[in-house]
């Protein structure tokens, strides 16, 4: 058995993929992490106490795992879902009633709920252990942005089933944007943005209109939310996750119990 492994390790194919010897000694164990694209965001070595489950709760890791689950199931769902008034609701129903392994949709939904919870717990842990303090304060800021983006992913994904719950939840949620200071047509100070008595902020030019693409939740909104949910926000989130992990490494690794 070990001779087979040894044969594979010495083959040209293996050595072309992994540019270093097997991690049998301390040096090569470090090299494995340093030269691997996926691992290089990670610290080369981690103190035992820093990854104790009782200390980290593994909530950041679980959140990242759930993000991967959402990305995977989300791409699969896109093969069956069409964001139009005619098909959106029917396609979601068909995922449940017709599609084999349509449970992918339920996994996506439950994973989304779980991800919101784990993000909060991760944040709570980071707060309790004081891991937001210098030199990690910038990573806390990135984390807060990631929290907001996670909630936005939930909000935009909520509309896509296009049932009564979805439409009215987004109606209620987006009505709050009417009250945006200066940029909402019912918000404080919108009157200040006018040229020669002509209001620049109306119900057809304010923050809510930009969000919905219309004055009421309709097909334009469905399309907008679909693109934000599947393309725009995930791209930004992926970038920020990479920076978040990289900063953990650069800020001296995961914080330690005192």
């Amino acid at each position: 058995m070990s001779s087979i492994i040894e044969y594979i390790r010495k083959s040209q194919i293996w050595r072309s993929v992994f540019r270093h010897p097997a991690p049998y000694d301390r040096r090569n164990r470090a090299v494995v992490v340093l030269t691997n694209f996926f691992l290089h965001l990670h610290p080369v070595s981690v103190k035992k106490g820093g990854i104790a489950l009782s200390y980290t709760w593994c909530m950041g890791g679980v959140t990242f795992f759930l993000f991967l689950v959402e990305a995977l199931t989300g791409v699969l769902l896109m093969f069956y879902y069409r964001p139009t008034l005619e098909w959106a609701f029917t396609d979601i129903r068909a995922l449940r009633d017709v599609t084999t392994l349509g449970i992918m949709r339920e996994i996506h939904r439950w994973g989304a709920h779980a991800m919101v919870i784990t993000v909060w717990l991760h944040m709570y842990r980071v707060f309790l252990t004081g891991s937001y303090k210098p030199p990690r304060e910038f990573n806390w800021v990135i984390g807060v942005i990631l929290l907001v983006l996670t909630l936005l992913l939930s909000f935009t994904g909520y509309l896509l089933p296009w049932d009564q719950l979805a439409i009215w939840a987004i109606t209620v949620g987006s009505n709050m944007a009417r009250a945006t200071p200066f940029l909402g047509h019912e918000g404080p100070g919108f009157q200040l943005l006018n040229i020669g008595g002509y209001d620049l902020i109306t119900n057809a030019s304010d923050a809510r209109f930009l969000l919905l693409g219309a004055r009421t939740v309709g097909e334009e909104t469905l399309n907008r939310f679909y693109i934000m949910h599947c393309v725009a926000i995930p791209i930004v989130v992926s970038l920020l996750i990479a920076i978040h992990f990289w900063r953990v490494r650069k800020d001296g690794g995961i914080s330690q119990p005192l």
Partner: protein, 208 residues
Amino acid sequence: MVAAVKEAQQAGKPVAPKLPAQPAKPKLPVKEQKVTRRSFWQMLSSVTISPFAVAWTVMATIGGVWSLAAARFLMPNMVRELPSKFKVGAISDYPPNAVSEKYTASRGVWIVNTDQYNGQPLLYSLLAICTHLGCTPSWLSGEQKFKCPCHGSGFYITGINFEGPAPRPLERVGLTLGADGLLEVDKSLKFQEELGQWSDPKSYVELG
């Protein structure tokens, strides 16, 4: 010499050893202050701005213009909505003390015939949008009230709020009787009770 040093040391005085005479420094020829190509540009950039500042300003400007352009691009110029004015039939279609839901699903308005607002028999059109957060309330004829399913706001037949989180009465939209004897709703007109706009004659049709 040695004797002199010894003597001085005995007296407790430090003595500096004599240094050999330095050769005279040759005087460098003074360069003439000439304007070269390089010094010209350095001079120019010091009184104006550096090329880096120019480059960064240009890039920041382009980035800013693109951001604004992207925001403007995402703001649609067109809305696909039904016309705000539409005919809703004759007065005789609306019996007294009743709320008509004929145009609720398609147009989002109720046509109400009642004398409960100010004692006069009136016909008016209420907008079917809850003043709390914008859901569509239902008319419950048994309880004689509009009830919002989202957060439980309740309104009397007059449109006045009396329960739940809604902060103000439902809004009326324009309702007029045309020369052809047909009623016409105008959703582009809004009349708010708390602003005293319900006394506007465009917000109701008085019934004899």
